[in-house]
């Protein structure tokens, strides 16, 4: 069952200056996310991958195309209508430092969406405890401020906030890129674990093919505002057909000196062959 359907999505940003032409960053991207599925969205900076996520979240306005969620068109909604989608679509951002209000305690951060949706204070407290437990944080965390936590722990708080309303889709915008290596793996496992338990779908945006391979069922590769390749994760991430994806795959260094030397040579050959 298709949960999210993005069709020929275009997004253009206005530029400064009189009569300056808007810059189009997405040139008609189509993709689908099924219920319970992870779609990994890979691309380098400027590819427009984050913009797709923000368009789905209603944080940028598309200039064309459609975004359907649960068979309902959501791309042109007003702010008021958009708020009714909050229980269904949530987000985890890249930067666990700026995505949590430094002046609010963890408990306040987690209960805010609940209270807005009409949960009474007592129910919210119980839910906050359950959420903290779900993401593996101690229950006394709710009295503390974000700055008392490490990056990985803050990201767990952000995940808990996204889960608070039991959404059907979570847009994950580079959620592990700012984390240390060992933390990265554990937070990814948490994402997978939560998906297995709740059946939530992820639109998982990342520049790191290894991370995407780890968590995605299907992968879409974005290059300068266009989708160049999409398909099942094993195919796209091990035997990519598009040259750009191949380059991307070979460019990421692997933690094995001998293997990395071979890859480097393959990359050099690929470069000379495409240059000719």
């Amino acid at each position: 069952m298709t949960l999210l359907e993005v069709e020929k999505l275009r997004v253009a940003f206005r530029t400064r200056g009189l009569r300056a032409k808007p810059v189009e960053v997405l040139h008609g991207v189509s993709l689908e996310v099924a219920a319970g599925e992870t779609l990994g969205l890979v691309g380098e900076s400027g590819s427009g991958k984050t913009t797709i996520g923000r368009a789905v979240l209603g944080l940028v306005k598309p200039s064309g195309g459609s975004i359907r969620f649960d068979q309902r068109e959501i791309s042109g909604l007003s702010r008021r209508e958009r708020r009714t989608l909050a229980p269904d679509i949530q987000v985890v951002f890249q930067d666990p430092y700026s995505s949590l209000n430094p002046a609010m305690t963890i408990g306040e951060i987690l209960s805010e969406p609940l209270v807005v949706q009409g949960t009474v204070a007592k129910g919210a407290r119980a839910r906050v405890r359950a959420l903290l437990d779900q993401v593996g944080l101690p229950s006394d965390a709710s009295e503390r401020l974000p700055r008392e936590f490490s990056g990985g722990q803050r990201q767990r708080v952000a995940i808990a906030r996204a889960l608070a309303l039991e959404p059907k889709l979570i847009v994950c915008d580079e959620p592990v890129s700012a984390l240390d290596l060992s933390t990265q793996a554990r937070v990814l496992d948490l994402f997978i674990d939560i998906q297995r338990r709740t059946g939530v779908s992820y639109l998982f945006v990342s520049h790191d093919l290894t991370v995407v391979r780890h968590i995605s069922h299907r992968v879409a590769v974005l290059y300068q505002g266009d989708l160049v390749e999409t398909g099942p994760a094993p195919d796209v991430t091990s035997t990519p057909s598009h040259p750009y994806t191949q380059r991307l795959l070979l460019a990421a260094p692997v933690a094995d000196p001998a293997l990395q030397r071979r890859r480097r040579e393959r990359r050099a050959r690929l470069r000379t062959s495409t240059a000719v």
Partner: protein, 605 residues
Amino acid sequence: MSTDRDHGSTTAEAASTGAVAAGHAVPRMPMWQRVLRDPQAVITLGTLIVIMLLGALAPFITPYGPNQTDLHAVNAPAGTPGYPLGADESGRDILTRLLHSINTATVSALIGAATALVVGATAGLVGGYFGTRTRAVTEWMFNLVMTFPGVLLLIVLMPVTGGDYRWTMLIFGVLLSPGIYRIVRNLVVGVKNELYVDAARVSGLTDLRILGRHVFFVVRGPIIIATAFMAGSAISVQSGLAFLGVGSREIPSFGAMISSGFRNLYIAPTQFLWPSLLLGLITTSLVLLGNALRDVVEGSKPAPAKVGAGQRAEVVADAEDAAAGTPALLDIHDLAISYPDPAGKQREVVRGLSLRIERGQTVGLVGESGSGKTQTAFATLGVLPDEAVITRGSIRFEGRELIGLTDAQLRPLRGKAIAYVPQEPMSNLDPSYQVGTQLVEDVRWALGLDGPEAKRRVLALLERCGITDPERTFRAYPHEISGGMAQRVLVAGAVASRPKLLIADEPTTALDVTVQAEILDLLRDLQAELGMAILLVTHNFGVVADICDHVAVMQAGRIVEVGEVARLFAEPRHEYTRMLLGSILDEKTVRADPPLVASEEGIRP
């Protein structure tokens, strides 16, 4: 399957979670408590409160009314019985009038500042938060207000206000509001792009709630500060108007008193002194209070920077050279660096680190954030921040001790024999100069070349570093080039002097993987060509595998394992190295479990 990973890795984070749980919480001090700890704030606030209390209690302190005249007392000198500060030209008690003037000043300050606050802050929040069209409207209105000649307008509007200073202050408040509007609008425009505001929108919060909960707390501090200053200026303007004789003469005010004192300057020279002193005391207190609040709210006073002394070291280097034979290119021994923690105690971030780099080697310094790898690099470069202290150890470059050298002594090394490539290429280029000009400056200084020769050299270097159109890049400003290009430029600048050691601090972390691969290729080629050694600080084992021949693993300020790359990857000896290598997402793991079918409704919790 991804969750089947070695469970040893989970214990590490569990331990750190436990640390948070067990470690005593950093005491959260509310703002008012911090204000009460600042002597300047306490003194000025206390002064103001005492003065205001005196004003409020005026009817009980003196037997006279503010406008009660006694012809026997006209221009009575200070010390006359019943008139401790004397009486003025109409025989009114100066002390009484002084006390009543305080009330006028207080009311002026309250009305003026409150009006400015309400008008400015509301418009600032709205104009900053909502779209460009709303902002254009508010902007235009406040620009218009700013064009009004303030005091003149207040005088012209006197017939409208009926001479009542309270109405005047209300209008003056509106005239002051653009100041607040600008502060608030700028802060809101900044905070609006914070991710937590986006997250709040996604959580379904109404705009009003977002403004109230997430945006307002950011602007709170600066507003409080500005209010203190505005109260001062409201009092000054009210006094100024009264001094000019504008407005009701019935109202006792400092301005009117000073004016009357001036008229009698030759008869009773001290008359104008008292109101001037009190007015001065009040406005000074307000300004100093504003400054104190700013220090409290916006962080401490800047520490005075010292120039040229080099970094602080508590060790005395041995005069004798290291062991006989050819010394290593870089030999760091038992290095410890400490920083003061918020409580003022010294906390070591590098705790006895030893590392040797031979000529031509590429050594990777790996570790997680906070392990002290960048501090080690900075100490070698001699650019540790002022609060850092090297508590022990030695850093020898070609046998010469670097610790304890002044900036002047380090200069011949830094940027010449020891070069540096930073993590953020963009923030290391000055946005207001052309890329080429900045490089020429470096090259002229490092190599002692004249202008044209240095330019030729820079163009050659840029070309060597893989920049296809060196002339164009030379003339470009930093914002006109990409991050990868900027990093090539910085690499070009670093290798210009043919350094013996290149310290690269996460040189590719901010770059895309395809660009990262190119920069690593460039570094590898340059190294082969120049025979320099590279100290590469990174958290990415893939980068280490790609370019390094030796690697040192850091944990909590120490090196736990060091060795040849092939050996260390194949058979890591230290448990921490094994943990790090174990948590690398490997090449083969692909998500294998199929998506849960969400049509089974019972699954959602």
